[in-house]
Symmetry: C2
Subunit: 273 residues, 2 copies
């Protein structure tokens, strides 16, 4: 998917909501456990109920790997279902991969070509030659960890290298890499006060923003400093939407929560733009 397609979908739906498909069999409604593939059944119901409010879905691969082969099969079925039924929706493999060059190429091929994701999250620690193999794919997007939503972000990411924090070095340095137009960045909603500084470095890049809701980030604060001229935000919610109810009405509850976020986003977009 091109960035233009993503922006167009955001404008059409008046939403920049990403739903995190982090399926935990201990948290889904019990009656689904009788299904042949409870993970996929849950995802399908969530997608069917929320797609009109949503421009992106983001399965975190950890939740699938945790179930071994069964989990990988459910991940495959989920991405296939999305690509067949909602090709206009942006898909993110939240995998936080990264390795030396020829190995990163393997990951890129697996997630972009074989599974068919539009994007993957990648860790920057190993530098340019670990990330460029991901950037080499046309109309695919590499979402580099910059400033994450967790407490551990303060261990290294905000430490100063010379005058500037490591996460800023990551933003600046990565702009010079080959095919950097395919870069997006992860910036946690719990760090809203940093968005203004980040926008000085990457004014137009899309930012994937986890941490709204359960982790305590504020949508309004994120938007105040993070919105760009082309919107430039994908705000993720996982638990707040997919686990809104553990009962038979889980899909309706998810739809209601997604709709609430979409309405809030619409109001913000119309207030600002």
């Amino acid at each position: 998917m091109t960035t233009a397609n993503l922006i167009s979908e955001i404008k059409k739906k008046q939403s920049f909501l990403c739903v995190g498909l982090d399926v935990d069999l201990d948290k889904i409604p019990e009656f689904l456990l009788k299904e042949e593939d409870p993970i996929f059944s849950f995802n399908k119901a969530i997608i069917d109920a929320t797609h009109q409010y949503t421009v992106a879905y983001k399965p975190n691969t950890a939740f699938y790997e945790a179930y071994g082969l069964k989990g990988w099969k459910a991940l495959e079925k989920t991405i296939n279902y999305l690509n067949e039924n909602h090709p206009e929706i942006f898909t993110i493999a939240d995998a936080k991969r990264g390795d030396i060059g020829n190995t990163s190429s393997r990951y890129a091929k697996a997630f972009y070509e074989d599974l068919g994701f539009d994007s993957i999250t990648v860790a920057p620690y190993m530098g340019k030659d670990s990330v460029e193999p991901f950037l080499a794919f046309e109309n695919k997007h590499t979402i580099l960890l910059a400033l994450t939503s967790n407490e551990g972000a303060f261990d290294f990411q905000t430490k100063k290298i010379g005058e500037e924090e490591l996460y800023k070095q990551v933003l600046k340095t990565s702009k010079d890499w080959n095919n950097s137009e395919n870069l997006m960045y992860v910036v946690g909603a719990t760090k809203a006060e940093y968005f203004a500084e980040i926008r000085k470095i990457v004014p137009d890049s899309f930012l994937l923003v986890p941490g709204v809701g359960a982790q305590g980030g504020s949508l309004k604060e994120v938007c105040k400093y993070g919105l760009s001229s082309n919107i430039g935000l994908l705000v993720n919610s996982s638990r707040g939407i997919i686990y809104a109810s553990k009962n038979n009405d889980f899909a309706e509850a998810a739809a209601r929560e997604a709709k609430n976020m979409q309405l809030e986003m619409k109001a913000i977009l119309n207030g600002i733009h």
Copy 2:
């Protein structure tokens, strides 16, 4: 596996060789492609031929994910084969994972408990709460990326935070984390001149050392500065061993290469200790 078990195995075999099981179907002997599971068949033959010279095996997960479900099945079969036939050999999932706390727990459970690996490589960028979930498992080992073997290591890892390079901060900071006795570190063989400095910070920790052979690192240089009082090194070779021949004699060729490295290691151990 306990660290004491690993050290005992190293002393017994007079080897600190780790063989990287990075299977690429384009590089294995053609006749294996007719087997039902060529990846596992290849691994099994390599393991059968090299285990007497080897104290660790390290499949890089990228090479398995690249083949989707088929790849994951081969990974499962490989680790099961190792645990059943060679429980004394240390196993490393070279996965370079890392995520926010509850998600890292998922990865840890998947690799340590479900698959049954002794250890996993983890990226440090997200800090303490992304790594501690891995450290919480008894007799399991978390191998944190410190200074990697690739060129991109110079993008961020060797940049100075105050007086000290980022990779040194990673070493020092991580020593204070809960259960840090379960930490090992990745240090590339291509950076042999850094080992002396690293040993000042982590004198006793095991270091997993990729980059000898195809990537140009020297075993002698690594040992000169990297050996600790309890040996403390696992030196990995992947391509140099597993692709020593592409013909019917691939397993014998791998055994020969592994044996050569073991003999070199034995000579070094006996020269120094």
